[in-house]
């Protein structure tokens, strides 16, 4: 595998690790932004240009900003007094290590059956557009409905309640 892949994967994994291990919350938010950027580069190296740029636009441009706003609105910039790791942290680590072991064993065990080389798929944005309204029109409409419901729901949930009403 090319050195670029190793570098980008290292950046992604480092960002993800920093996001779950660092104490100040805003540093975690910035680290997860780095992880998102690394994942976008991985998508681009897999010749999925639309998904890579959509990942940057949506995750770095919107989700990371949302996380940062939430941290600042809930006064997350001060360090908590009782420590940042929950009381049952060991169980969490053991479970995720077990999950990684299972996934890794499955991957390595079947690694010899996986294809070694594959031609670059000749996929243009036009094909994606046609697929969206041809084969995947139902998921498209459902996602539109879901996004509308999520927008309205998020606004209502986070809205200031009027004093003395309801």
């Amino acid at each position: 595998m090319s050195p670029v892949f190793y570098l980008v994967s290292a950046m992604t994994v480092a960002g993800a690790l920093a996001a779950v291990l660092l104490k100040p919350l805003v540093h975690c938010a910035l680290a997860v932004t780095v992880a998102f950027a690394g994942l976008a580069f991985l998508f681009l190296s897999l010749d999925a240009q639309f998904a890579g740029f959509a990942q940057i636009l949506v995750y770095i441009g919107a989700v990371a900003i949302l996380i940062v706003f939430a941290i600042l609105l809930t006064k997350g910039s001060e360090l908590p007094r009782d420590g940042v790791f929950s009381r049952s942290w060991l169980a969490g680590v053991v479970i995720s290590a077990a999950v990684f072991a299972a996934l890794g064993w499955a991957i390595l065990r079947s690694a010899w059956t996986l294809p070694h080389e594959a031609a670059v798929p000749a996929v243009t944005v036009h094909d994606i557009g046609v697929a969206l309204v041809d084969r995947y029109v139902l998921p498209l409409e459902i996602v539109a409905l879901l996004l509308t419901a999520a927008t309205i729901g998020a606004v209502i949930v986070a809205m200031h309640e009027k004093e003395g009403a309801k």
Partner: protein
């Protein structure tokens, strides 16, 4: 001769690259183009700073810088030397790595946006299939850098300025994207070269630019409003207004880092104007069919400088919008009008050629503007001023 002048930079690039062995040629040609962009646009930035200061000064009935060089032309050199030699002060409680990285991330993200702009015939750095999406992805990355700058300074004013700037940028980003989607709908592609090619025909002497259609005009106006807000220019420059928030999110930056922020802001202005000319003003194509002998890159850069001139004009003329007025404007007026414009564009596309679609689309858009803009404001009574005090 005419197309030699038109393609002069491409021919120069080919000639320079031919000196190298065949294996190095692709890398070298890309590198040459990158170096050209990195030299031309900051030089244009230097020219624009003096242009702006003189322009603003004339609007405000004064002269502007006139000491350094004839008519103050060498002022950017003086400014550059000043910002390079100023002491770089970093507050002791500031978060040093994030504080250092914020202007770097901004400048990198803004420079990446230039990679997909077609600056002339065959003069685009990377002809991507999803070029427009790439441009907006890079624009979204600048918001992270603004937040990083404001938060890492550990200064209430910086943080407040950064939050306001980010809120403004994400609101107007939606408008920017939606107004571009109507162009994509008609051109049929996300690739900027194809969008320019779709606008390069002429009927008689008049060009097929999208701004000369009803939906294109409304789309362009919405795009221009959103572009002014995205780059934090007047009248949307509350996050960095000197009288409000010291200097907003770049309060704690001095010397070269401040110059980098300044550079980033102006380069963002150039690149968003460049995208606006590509989407609505026909990119590098000439305005009349008898003017096509003038090289394409001259047309692109003149349209770019005209947009910059309009930005400077707006800065000198319009008063600043307050944050809540700005957000109200975005979500309650500009966004609904842009969505309606999208539907009118679809109507335009499916009504077929002819005069009917001009009339119908213009009527819908004018009626919508009058309804939303004028009638919807009747309850804003512009009576005597009411005072509200903080409780």
């Amino acid at each position: 001769m005419i197309d030699k002048m038109d393609q002069i930079f491409v021919l120069l690039q080919h000639w320079l690259v031919a000196f190298l062995p065949l294996s190095l040629q692709p890398v070298a040609s890309v590198l040459l183009a990158v170096v050209a962009i990195v030299c031309v646009f900051p030089a244009l930035f230097a020219l624009t700073t003096v242009f702006e200061r003189k322009g603003l000064a004339r609007i405000q009935n004064r002269i502007g810088p006139n000491r350094v060089g004839p008519f103050g032309i060498m002022q950017p050199i003086a400014d550059g030397i000043k910002s390079l030699t100023k002491e770089d002060i970093v507050p002791s409680i500031a978060n040093a790595p994030v504080h250092f990285l914020a202007p770097v991330v901004l400048v990198v993200a803004v420079f990446m946006g230039f990679a997909v702009l077609p600056m002339g015939r065959n003069m685009v750095l990377v002809d991507m299939d999803a070029g427009l999406l790439f441009y907006f992805a890079m624009g979204a990355s600048t918001e992270v850098s603004v937040f990083m700058a404001g938060w890492s300074s550990r200064n209430k004013y910086s943080l407040l300025g950064a939050m306001r700037a980010v809120a403004q940028m994400i609101s107007y980003e939606v408008v920017l994207l939606l107004s571009s989607v109507s162009v994509v709908m008609i051109a049929g592609s996300l690739s900027l070269t194809k969008i320019v090619a779709a606008q390069s025909g002429y009927t008689g002497i008049f060009p097929h630019w999208y701004i000369f259609t009803p939906w294109g005009l409304v789309g362009f106006i919405m795009y221009a409003i959103a572009a002014t807000a995205e780059t934090n220019r007047s009248p949307f420059d509350l996050p960095e207004g000197e009288s409000e928030l010291v200097a907003g999110y770049h309060t704690e930056y001095s010397g070269f880092k401040f110059a980098l922020f300044f550079l980033g802001e102006y380069l963002a202005m150039f690149s968003i104007s460049g995208l606006g000319t590509t989407l609505f003003l026909g990119g590098w194509s000439a305005p009349f069919s008898f003017l096509t002998f003038i090289p394409s890159w001259i047309w692109f850069f003149s349209k770019l400088m005209m947009s910059i001139f309009v930005f400077i004009w707006m800065r000198g003329t319009l008063p600043r919008l307050r944050q809540d007025q700005l957000m109200n404007f975005a979500w309650k007026f500009v966004l609904p009008l842009t969505l309606l414009n999208l539907m009118v564009t679809a109507l335009w596309r499916f009504m077929g050629e002819g005069w009917a679609r001009w009339g119908v689309c213009s009527a819908i858009l004018i009626a919508a503007y009058i309804l939303m803009g004028r009638v919807g404001m009747y309850k804003e009574h512009f009576g005597p001023r009411r005072y509200r005090y903080a409780e």
